[in-house]
Assembly symmetry: C2
Homo-oligomer: 139 residues x 2
Amino acid sequence: MNTAAGKAVGKRTPTISGPCSRWPAENRGIIRQVLDRVGDKWSTLVVAALGDGPLRYTDLKDSIPGISQRMLTLTLRQLHRDGLITRTPYAEVPPRVEYDLTPLGVNLHDIVVSLIDWAGNHHEEIRENRARFDARITP
Amino acid sequence: MNTAAGKAVGKRTPTISGPCSRWPAENRGIIRQVLDRVGDKWSTLVVAALGDGPLRYTDLKDSIPGISQRMLTLTLRQLHRDGLITRTPYAEVPPRVEYDLTPLGVNLHDIVVSLIDWAGNHHEEIRENRARFDARITP
DNA sequence: CCGTATCCTGAACGATACTG
DNA sequence: CAGTATCGTTCAGGATACGG
């Protein structure tokens, strides 16, 4: 793409929104913080896992292979703090705590899903690209 | 963790498996890798910055406040490797190198934009949630 | 102008052990 | 079951200096 003088560039979101320039400078700090949280690996996976409905701690842990107790707890607390998930403990024995997406969290979930779908749809292509790139670098 | 397999160019592979149930287990590993790249803070910002058209190294650096030369270079190489951006050097003096989104990158850009818009639209709400949460914890 | 090559630090993360 | 507390390690990433 981008032949010669950069004239024939493909269509580029003629839609409403440009990138960063769309938000005033004073907001960029917090927007970055939000992006950091959102872009966080475990947060993404937790939000994705909660897409099908509420889950309790252990189920969450099981449905996200590789996550440590520590990181799950931490991630859940952050998401809770940001108001993206709810945490409802039941006074039973044995204890039960359920986590669920808030409306705000559902909002984010949609985007996360599109991200995951994108990754799923293109991982093969990306894998090939990487292989090709590495082949050129290390022949 | 010992270097079990592969030569890990970027982040190390967490453990096994991955996110949602909608993709077969064997793909989850690479999907996580893709998500890691995509969810990466700097990658996001670079992709966002390239939304308006091709940019050269320095312009890129200027339009992403806070990024170090090192991270910009690294991020650009990863994105290039994944086939999300092109890198075209011009044999001039002084040197000029332009980076641009590939069609695949444009694809991702749309999602990134929705993420940024989401962050922009909800950062105020999130800020309030955080304040409320912290107030309850530390009264 | 466009990077690469080193060095160094903090904090992110996993592992482990312990409670209500 | 659903966490908390602590410790040790790794490594992402900034700072700096140099090279084509």
